[in-house]
Amino acid sequence: MLEARLEQAQLLKKVVDAIKDLVQDCNFDCNDSGIALQAMDNSHVALVSMMLKAESFNPFRCDRNIAIGLNLVSLTKVLRAAQNEDILTLKAEDAPDSLNLTFESSDKDRISEYDLKLMDIDQEHLGIPDTDYSATISMPSAEFKRICTDLMAMSESVTIEAGKDGIKFACNGDIGNGSITLRTVQDVENKENNIEIALTEPVSLTFSLKYLVNFCKAQNLSKTVKLHISNEVPLLVEYAMEGGSYLRFYLAPKIGDEE
């Protein structure tokens, strides 16, 4: 039996919004530590990994491991009925065939309740090892989104080059080329504006901008985003949330044909 109560419905709304453009159907795996999700896009070049820790809920109860298979478009439709400030409660039985969602307005004068039919989704889980990345860049999530959308206008892929001086996003398209270079920023008053670069060795990799732009839909979840880059491994784009919860995207680098 699962019973999870979120003080603010917007957390789930934003998470689902960020994922729904990448995957169609996926399992929400619930256990006593929280609700986890791992899914790949149709081409299997990107992976999304979500963890909503039990601490993010109040209260959280899950006696047994339950897999809740959902179509994200359907879930979005239901979540659209919830106000950002509503109290959201998820309920499911041990072997559920539907997920119960309750939205209570903050002054508790309106309660809406929805049951969403579940689906059987056969998904394989990948084991993601802890990796020491060559470069870890922390920057405001809005900044990352702007870079991606700006460069998207020029080309469909971006080369991220992390060096001692800073980090350079460069692209080369049909109409010309462009690049954005960021240097470290220490903003004492507004830590959110900090740009930090931790580097063990310089790296340069190319990624599909369409996917990166898609990841940026999670921008609302967190003020800062962390990029972890290493040669020969997927790029990790991490949006950290309160209470240890996170939303991580992995994207395979483009290797070989430099256009």
Partner: protein, 443 residues
Amino acid sequence: MAKTRSKGGATSTAPASSNPTNPSKSRYTLQPESSDPPRVFILPKKATPKARIVSLLNPRYAKPTRYLVCPESGIYEFTRIAAPKSTPHSWLIESSSGNLEGQKSVNGAEPDFVAYTTKGAELYIATPVDPLFLVLPALAQTTSKSEKRLFLSGYDHLESVSKELSPHLSEILHWGNVRTLFEARMAAICDTIEAGDESMFRLNEENLLKEVLSKAKRMSETPLPPSMEEKFVTKALEAPVLSVKRAGTAATAVVTEPAAAEPVSSTPMPESGESQASAASTETTNSLTPEPSTAATSVAGETIAPSEELAAAIQASPEVTKLQRLRTAFSFICSSYIAPPQTAQLKKLLSEKKDLVDFAPLDDYLAEVSKLRQEAVAARSTGDYSRKRVLDEEEMMARAEKKRKVEEEDKRKKAGQSRGVKNLKKVNTTGMKKMSDFFKKKL
């Protein structure tokens, strides 16, 4: 009066017996199924009480088969008549002790057989069989072994059949006039010489052919049993009507070689799939003729009635029909009673001996018919527009239905797909490895 008996002549019952069944047992307890259930036989009145059911070598299938041998009146074969599996029947066999055959009731060893319900309503009919066919394997064996074709006594011939294949043969030779009967029939197909007071025999294929042919002739004088007549004579001789409407059905009814349809069953008795109706035809026409199972089954398909007024391209003359009947009868006898190698031999001999019977008019006619059929098929493929259109309409309906289903499926799938997911499909992912290349699958 037709007598019915359970297996082995143990009990015979009068069909109209009115003895009430024993009511002392509970109505609802069923007795365990008997491993040797009673069977219903119809035996000839001619057969004396001394007649016994024995196992003899089946001339066609070279394995032991049950025959009824009566020391006086001769040998009878059994034809099994059963309802097809799709329409199960059963018999209620009733007997009263007063009607038991005298000899059996006296010795008292008979179990209390009062009434019995059988699982399958099988009826075994004994019909006379020419002992000629039964001695044939023996003759064939002794003649084929040595090239020299020795003359042997009838007894020696019959002894050559192994005990396993024909367990009771040597036994029945000592009964009444059975041996005389065998030897008399042997003489009909053998060259004989007298050696002392004994006759010696040697198989003569020509005599055998004449004998079989005379049987076939007698069989073909009257129309064959309806199902055989329909399938092997009428259909085979039917010429296509050269009009658009008839061409289709005529072309489908290509039955060229009636002899090809040999019985499928391993015994000459018909399979239980045979219908009662066809079995009835066996009784009415020729007692020598158990119906081959194939003859009865596949006839129902097409009927020629609706367009009888349309004249066929050529009509079979009575002579041709008679010849076809004869050929069918001959093939039938061969396929029922004569082993395949001998059948081949006989057929070859038959085609050589034009003086016995000349099939030339029939062959000419059949060649003509097959030519006409080919023409009809060719004509249909070009000319029969009306038929084609009907098919196309159906096909189109089916295709539209299929298309609609696929579209519906697609729609449903798309409904669960966000715009972002759709857009990502268009992304060029060349040079990007799959995630499973980086991360190992969790078990």
